[in-house]
């Protein structure tokens, strides 16, 4: 899947949850991605996470742990 698009979409989710306390935001992001992204999108996101891409919002990177299969 298009990495740029996935990063953008994940960052938008993070920007919404950023209003919440940190732990809740991280959990909210992980839960949202798990509930609404199909497995191939999540797999592509994991590749981006593993590369520690800094264009990914910090909260998404922190949510990455919870997105492991």
């Amino acid at each position: 899947m298009n990495a740029g698009r996935l990063i953008h979409d994940a960052n938008q989710i993070a920007l919404y949850f950023a209003a919440y306390p940190h732990d809740e935001a991280v959990a909210g992001i992980a839960d949202h991605i798990r509930k609404f992204w199909d497995p191939r999108m999540r797999a592509s996101l994991r590749v981006i996470l593993d590369a520690n891409d800094e264009t990914l919002h910090l909260l998404v990177r922190q949510a990455g742990e919870k997105l492991k299969p």
Binding site: D9, P39, R40
Partner: protein, 955 residues
Amino acid sequence: MPILKERDLGTPAGKGPSAVRLRVDGREIEVPEGTSVMRAARLAGIDIPKLCATDRVKEFGSCRLCLVEIDGRKGTPASCTTPVAAGMTVRTQTDRLRRLRRNVMELYISDHPLDCLTCSANGDCELQDMAATVGLREVRYGYDGARHRTHAIDLSNPYFAFEPAKCIVCSRCVRACEEVQGTFALTIDGRGLNSLIAASQNENFLDSECVSCGACVEVCPTATLNEKTTIEHGLPDRTVLTTCAYCGVGCSFKAELQGDRVVRMTPFKDGQANHGHSCVKGRFAWGYATHPDRITTPLIREHITDRWREASWDEAITHVAERFRDIQARYGRGAIGAITSSRCTNEETYLLQKLVRTAFGNNNVDTCARVCHSPTGYGLKTAFGTSAGTQNFDSVQAADVILVIGANVTDAHPVFASAMKKRLREGAKLIVIDPRRIDLVETPHIAAEHHLQLRPGTNVAVVNALAHVIVTEGLVNEAFVAARCDGGSFARWRAFIGDPANSPEAVADLCGVEAETLRAAARLYATGLNAAIYYGLGVTEHSQGSTMVMGMANLAMATGNLGRAGVGVNPLRGQNNVQGACDMGSFPHEFSGYRHVSDDAVRALMSAAWAVPLDSEPGLRIPNMLDAAVHGTFKGLFVQGEDIAQSDPDTQHVTAGLAAMECLVVNDLFLTETARYAHVFLPGASFLEKDGTFTNAERRIGRVRKAIEPLAGMAEWQVTMKLAEALGYREMRYAHPGEIMDEIARLTPTFAGVSYEKLDRLGSLQWPCNAQRPEGTPVMHVEEFARGKGYFALTAFVPTEERTGQRFPLLLTTGRILSQYNVGQQTRRTGNLVWHDEDVLEIDPHDAEQRGIRDGDLVSLASRSGEIALRAAISDRMQPGVVYTTFHHPHTGANVITTEFSDWATSCPEYKVTAVDVRLVNGRSIWQERRLHELEAFGGGLTPAIARHSRRDAP
């Protein structure tokens, strides 16, 4: 059934609290206080003659035919304008009354043509009926009244004729235009015998303010206002009661036929969504159903650059099954999917999502709600626990303050708009939040208290500012919040929203709305007794669409405006069955009734019923399907009744995805823009050709009934069944859509009490309909929210990334107009083209002048996504810096301009905010030229209909 004619009780129902007893012609009757003598008599089965009275409008008392005698009262009062009184004794038939009525009829007929045998209303004329009723045998005044007989017939409206010579000046049309439609386009011009009905300033109907809703035609007692189809074909001989296939109001209609020919569609007076009203689309624009462009034979081609060849149903379906299985063998089970249609029935969308989850073996199913109201689903489910509007339409009649946000009601939901305007004329206050000055802001006898003409993209900042005022000025309904809402989430939200960063003063410049106006609007909403929110795609189609929906839900909860008539948070759904398509499990992450695919208990239930294991992972959404197609992991798509190549944003991205598919199947009425990229075309059936149900914006499930046989031999539910068989899935065999509804009811708790038998008996049902609420639920969340306690989500304002700058200095927002519907594939094939035959760019006079643009000039509209050319329409509806267009015509290609940005939660596209440049131009854009070239080269095909289609869409 034979012709269905609703009983006319002469005047509207009395609404007084107590009952009144009276005697009419010796019969004892009890009716509510405020009832007219005419209505009381008719309820008792005594039909007093009448001409100017009809129960669709208020009593008027002009025709003098309904005179009665009442003991103790002088003279002969009109029964329509005389309210009942306790102990009243009324006589409706005496020699004196008979003489008077006959004389009245003589006067009418002295100035009326006696061409009954050749008149288009012959057999359906109340004047004719009354002449017979009163026993008219002569006209002592002669037949030369002749004041009106020479007046020309006005044929300007494409659908009805106005023949002044037949007019008896009963004023029903004038009153219907005022009271029912609320347009005030008609009046009586002149005095005495010279009185005549006039449209606007004595203009023809087409040039007048008339919106062609048909209310005047509906009430006309003679042939004066009559459908052209009736004039041409004569009267229908049977009625099929059904539901309109246009917008989310879901009007109940009578399809009136002669054999297999639809002669007219008339609104059903007892329809619970529309109460006998209609708009130009449902009432008149149904001719597309038998348009010669309809494709009625399956078509196949190897490559999208090939010409089509006709195929049998068996060959086409087998071909699709083989291709899909081959794709899955080569690219994996998840490489195919489907898109369900909001123009198809509940039963059909249910079947298609079932096909995907069972026969395809994945969850790659999505629906057009993705691009319209998916944020409503997400936002309202988060706040209240269910993905639907809270009220029935009738609730608006109890509203004291009506807050309309991002919804052009009079154009997009005209029949509901008429109901809303009625309430506003009665004195309810109106607040409009919209970047355009929509008609509702100022319309006859209605003026908004506040029009918050915000900059596109700042909805969330505005709703936060309104909430800030409510929280900081002590306007919170503390008792409601304490009793009904989640305390923890409220406390956190209160602290968040009270932050000065959310104050009107802090956001005024950003939004373009003065702080004091924001404060006044918030105070009015919070303190105006029953306050109701109605919203449309101007809320949802933003990068923060879901946040905005939750923001509005917070506003309603904080002020206690939920759980009773007159309040609520009400999405106005775009397409006729968009609510139903969502309810039926068309989203990739949930089964029918909004239950997530990862829920083991639900999956076990569905799996047992459908006899296959089911995937617990969410599938792909439409934009993800297209991305995956470009990426090479998604290769086959079945598109039922949607035209994503025209309706979805960033056309060139959509078509790149479609072109990357190995097998695109389109199941539709016409060869659409999407069909240009298809390998197989399966002909669809219009709403007149099938049985089923639609669910409207107020959760109302209404029956669709087959009026004519499917032109192509099969309706969509049958096509899906056949494809399931071809794919080897055996659990999809139904003899009738009613059996599909039975399965839906068995597997979906909110539909548990729904059946065709009950729908036939009660007319319609609003879900939830189950053991607790066997007759449905007009207003939701009355005692508690569906989720228990209402949840206050945080709604921080995150500006869209779409920004204006030097290259693209203006903001484009897109929408719809009254006469056209969605991608226009239906309405463009009707007389509605007379009102809108091309998409135009509305631009503020100042912006136009700066660019040297005059009204009607061809201009280029360019964004970072693409460029098109269209005509400019200079309009003071717009604010400087904002332009507007529609997406009804494929050759314009409005969605070439819109971008890939979308709602953070649901991927609903941001149609409402695109940075653009506008400049004068000489000809079509490169995209438009290329489209024409492709149509010329590949669009043609085997049948004349295909060739016609190609020509038709070319400008």
